[in-house]
Symmetry: C2
Subunit: 231 residues, 2 copies
Amino acid sequence: MARRKVANPLAFAVLGSLGERPMHPYEISTMLRARGKDQSIKVNYGSLYSIVSSLEKHGFIEAQETVREGNRPERTVYRITDAGRAEFDDWLTELVGTPSREFHPLEAGLAYLPGLPPDRAVELLEQRLAVVDVEIAEMTAMHEQMASAEFPRIFWVESEFRLALLRAESAYVHRLADEIRTDKLDGSAFWRMAWKHYLDEGISPGEQLKDPVKYFGQEFAWMQAVPPEAR
Amino acid sequence: MARRKVANPLAFAVLGSLGERPMHPYEISTMLRARGKDQSIKVNYGSLYSIVSSLEKHGFIEAQETVREGNRPERTVYRITDAGRAEFDDWLTELVGTPSREFHPLEAGLAYLPGLPPDRAVELLEQRLAVVDVEIAEMTAMHEQMASAEFPRIFWVESEFRLALLRAESAYVHRLADEIRTDKLDGSAFWRMAWKHYLDEGISPGEQLKDPVKYFGQEFAWMQAVPPEAR
DNA sequence: ATGCTAATACTCGATCTCGAGTAATCGAGA
DNA sequence: TCTCGATTACTCGAGATCGAGTATTAGCAT
C-alpha cells in the first residue's frame, strides 16, 4: 500500500474543504475553482467521485445526509471525521516540511537535448520562453492588482512561489539558449559537428563516438577515456 | 485517448535508449541508471515491462530476437521502428518547446498554509530548507567536479536546470519563513491572532471570519467586503 | 412560449500504475 | 566448498486515473 491510503492531491483539497463545513462533491469542486485552489492543485473532476468514496471507505469523511432538489440527481453531503482532520494535518505537515523529488518535464527533455540539432534546440527553447514569459507577465500583473486591492499576501503565497519557479525556469532557459547560439556551452561545438556529419554524410552519432579523434579532431582524444556508460 | 498513445515519461526514455541500439528491457533500465537518466526521468521498474509491451503494441518498437542464457528467464531484445523514431522526435520537441502546467507539492501545501499555526509553519519551512540546502550543496559540488573533469556541460544541462529550480525554491522559502517570523508578511498578524483565539478560546476560524472587527479589530473591517468565496 | 447555451451533477470502464513478490545466479569471504 | 547477501530479470493484480459521455435544469434572449 502507498504511504497514504488516498494519495491523490485532490483528496488533500477535499479534506481541506470539508474541514471548513460539510458539502456535497460538486460543491467542493466549484468552491475549489472559486477560490483558485485549482491553480495550485490538480483537480480532475472525473477523479473527484472516486476519491470521495475512497476517503469515505477509509473513514476520513462520512455521509451526513442525502438531499434531493427537484428532479436533480441525489446529492450526498459529506462531513470530515476526526481521522480525516488528523490525515489532513499530517498531509499538510508533510507537503510543507518535506521536499519530495519532482520530475519536471523539461528535465526529461534536456536529458536528451543532443537528440535535437542545436539550431532546432535553440528555436524550441525560444518558443518555450515566449509562452513562459507571457505567463510571468500575467502573474506579475495579477499580483500587483491583488497587492493594491490589499488582499493579504498570506492568501496567495502559493502563487508567489509558482512565480518564483517560473522566473527561475525562464532565466535558466534564456541563458542556455544564448550559450548554445553563441557556442559558449561546453560541448556544443562537438554537438554541432556530430549533427553536421550525420546530416551531410549519414554517419550515426554512435559511429562517431567510436572514433572521436577522426570525427572531431585531436582535442577530443580524451573522450576515448570516458566510459561509454557515462555519456 | 490521451494525446500520446503511451504517455508515461519512462516510455520516452525507452525510445531514447533503443534509438541508440537494440536492447532487452532490463538492459535499458540498467543503462538509464548508469547514465543517471533516472535522476531526470521517473523510472519505475514495475512499469517498465508494461510500457515496453504497450510500445510494441502501438508499433513504436518491435521484438528483434529472444535469447536465453543458461537457466535465466528468456530475454526479448527490442529495436526501435521508424514510427518509434518519429514519436521520440515529436515527444522531445514537445518536452523542450512547450511548457506544461506542473503542480509542485509545495504549492498545494502553501495554498493551505493558514491551516497550520504560524510558528509551526516556520518550523516546517526551515525543516524543508535544511534538506533542500544540503541537496543544493551536493549538486553544486558534483557540478564542480564534472566541470573540472572536463565532462562537457551539454551532457548535464538537465542537472543544471534542476539546480536552478532548487535554488529558486530555497530562496523563496527562506524569504517566506523570515517574513512570517518577523510578521512582515501581510496578513500574518491576522493569521497569528486567529490561531490564538482558536487555541485559547476554541473559536473556529470560520466563526472569526464572520465578525472580523470583533476578533481582529477595526482595521480589518474591509474583510467584510471581501466575498467569502475569494478567501 | 420557445429555443439555445451554459451550468449542474454525476457515471463508466478502458487503461495505467506501481510496489511487492519471486526465483535464479553471481561473487566475496569464511 | 559453502553460505549469504546483492544483483539480475521479471510477474502480477489491486487499485488509481481520467476524459468522454449523459441527462437535467436554469437563465435569457427572441
